[in-house]
Amino acid sequence: MTEHNQPNEPIIICRDVHKWYGHYHALRGINMQVRKGEVVVIFGPSGSGKSTFIRTINRLEEHQRGEIIVDGIPLTHDVRDIERIRMETGMVFQQFNLFPHLTVMDNITLAPIWVRGWSKAQAEEIGMQLLRRVGIPEQARKYPGQLSGGQQQRVAIARALAMQPKIMLFDEPTSALDPEMIKEVLDVMIELADSGMTMVVVTHEMGFARAVADTMYFFDQGQIVESGTPEQIFGDPQEARTKLFLSQILSH
């Protein structure tokens, strides 16, 4: 029934989200709306809370104040709601986090089989399609440890896509990669963005942001300092902190 929604209807709504680690105030009132099909890039210095924030969206981190509504489901302590949201949101991690004891294909089909209840044959068919989409169908029977970092991250994207999520979350997907492998992962992500997937991406890849982002958010000290389209952010940043940070990461 979500097919009948307006194309620009918000699918993620965050209102005044706060998070503390002990006494440390990690997120200080984040407000964000992500529309269906929108590609959001979150960037900022390390320790600015951007990873923490993206992880509150699928409850890998618990927010302590404010509200988060994903695909119409408010995030509460209700475990079933949390699992429903996780089924609809795929996540890609900095360290890939593939399951080392399973083959590439088993990594991809595990959740569809055990969470969605698909048959093995059906799951493997979809898995093969996804491996072709990320460009490594020939690696299906290998183990993650036998692949390069770029290939592992592409498998991780395929694994997240196998659940047919409505939203994809990327937590610094290229930060652990050798430079020559970053492009192959970004290519997959750009293709995914072009296909209309709703994406929230924490990244320092400004080329990627410029190419596909609809909205960029600059995080610092647990707050959104500035947001806007790539043209606004790169062409005419308003805040001094944004200017400083951009000059630092774009200078080399």
């Binding site: 699928n58 890998l60 475990v79 699992e83 429903r84 996780r86 089924m87 949101t89 795929g90 996540m91 991690f93 360290q95 986090n97 593939l98 399951f99 080392p100 004891h101 083959t103 595990l110 959740a111 055990w114 969470v115 460009g135 290998k142 183990y143 993650p144 440890g145 036998q146 694994r159 997240a160 659940m163 192959e184 290519d187 997959v188």
Partner: protein, 402 residues
């Protein structure tokens, strides 16, 4: 995005790694006589070994009275288990041989020498044995060979059957050994006070492993639980049991189980089994916890992010990795458990060790400690070696892709 592999420049030739080959003499020179003092050490230690070995062999072949073993072999193997029911113990061994043969063919790889040595064992023993034992051992050997042949013939289809076989094997053994019904039934009941010798030792071990393993895993998970009461109970249980010697637990099981369950009579073997299971589970829990702690947090997060609930996450993602990481420790624990079963002597059960003591008390064989204990040590040693070898195979087999 297709990656094309650039062809190697022809000038940089791909060379095979250098190989080292030695003649027997060359090997000796390199490893034993490389310098004058190494040569001297080799000579001195060879002399010592020869001296000791000669003394031992002289004793073993001229003075030792091995008839204490041969006369009491039945006692050592099955204790007081009635002769009319001995075939049931043999049936268990024959089934085991069949299953091992089958599994070896399905899962074993490139182990021809091991397979031949293992397969020849029952036939070699058959040469040494007499009467019905010889026939039974021949059947055991044939069963193993049949299992192996079956697996070669239809290995892929038999995989599932062989797994079911292993699962069914354990309860089947208990059923066969204990029997049911009256004396004129097909399998008359053999009360546990008649179980003894190696049979009892193995049963205690297998029951100990089969029941303490899941209990230990549950305790390990409970200790990591986010539910405070579950966690506290698990911690208390583990720490209390680990703070107490096995002998104490065995005594407690003998004395306290009947108090906890008034009106129910539980026989002594089952009480000893309970004690061993409860004891072993606490240690296993700590070993499994070590494995759980070795799993990076990212694995939990990836599993959760895919929507797996806690049980599926544990069973499919965390436990397979955690248990694999601690296989050597777990098998070490099982080997210790196997040897610890000898403590049931003190609650009056006649396991292999208990039988050894009983045999030594026979008037005909007084003072033959050396022969008896050497034999018992050999039996324990063989089984421990097999467990250890199996664990190494398992590790190698499971380390694919690492």
């Amino acid at each position: 995005m297709s990656a094309t592999t650039p062809s190697l420049p022809s000038r940089a030739e791909v060379l095979p790694p250098p190989t080292e080959r030695y003649t027997a003499l060359g090997w000796l020179r390199k490893n034993l006589f490389s310098t004058w003092y190494n040569a001297l050490l080799t000579v001195i230690f060879s002399a010592i070994v020869v001296l000791l070995l000669r003394g031992f062999l002289e004793w073993a072949f001229t003075q030792a009275r091995w008839e204490v073993i041969t006369t009491n072999l039945r006692l050592f193997m099955v204790g007081q288990y009635p002769a009319a029911a001995t075939w049931r113990a043999w049936a268990c061994v024959i089934l085991l041989a069949l299953l091992i043969g089958l599994s070896w063919g399905i899962w074993g790889r490139n182990q021809r020498a091991g397979a031949i040595a293992f397969g020849a064992l029952p036939f070699l023993l058959a040469i040494l044995a007499q009467d019905e034992a010889r026939v039974a051992l021949l059947i055991v050997g044939v069963a193993g060979a049949v299992g192996f042949a079956l697996s070669r013939w239809r290995g892929a289809q038999l995989q599932r059957i062989s797994i079911i076989g292993w699962v069914v094997y354990f309860p089947l053994v208990i059923l066969l050994i204990s029997g049911f019904g009256g004396a004129d039934g097909p399998l008359p009941l053999v009360t546990t006070n008649l179980w003894g010798g190696l049979l009892l030792t193995l049963l205690l071990t297998v029951v100990g492993i089969v029941f303490s393993f899941p209990l230990g895993v549950l305790l390990a998970l409970g200790r990591q639980s986010s539910l405070p009461i579950v966690r506290a109970l698990c911690v208390i249980y583990i720490e209390v049991i680990r703070g107490v010697p096995l002998i104490t637990v065995l005594f407690m099981a003998q004395l306290m189980l009947p108090l906890f369950l008034p009106g129910v009579t539980i026989d002594r073997v089952v009480r000893a089994m309970a004690g061993i299971v409860l004891f072993s589970a606490a240690y296993l829990a700590e070993n499994v916890r070590g494995g759980l702690q070795a799993i990076p947090r990212g694995q939990y997060e990836a599993a959760r992010a895919l929507g797996l609930n806690t049980w599926k996450m544990m069973l499919l993602i965390i436990l397979p990795q955690a248990l694999k990481a601690v296989i050597p420790i777990l098998v070490g624990q099982f080997i210790a458990l196997f040897k610890d079963t000898s403590l049931v002597v003190i609650v009056g059960l006649l396991d292999l060790m208990g039988i050894a003591k009983a045999v030594l008390a026979q008037p005909d064989f007084l003072g033959l400690q050396a022969e008896v204990y050497l034999f018992v040590a050999l039996v324990y040693g063989v089984f421990c070696y097999l467990m250890s070898a199996f664990s190494q195979r398992l590790e190698a087999r499971l380390s694919v892709g690492r």
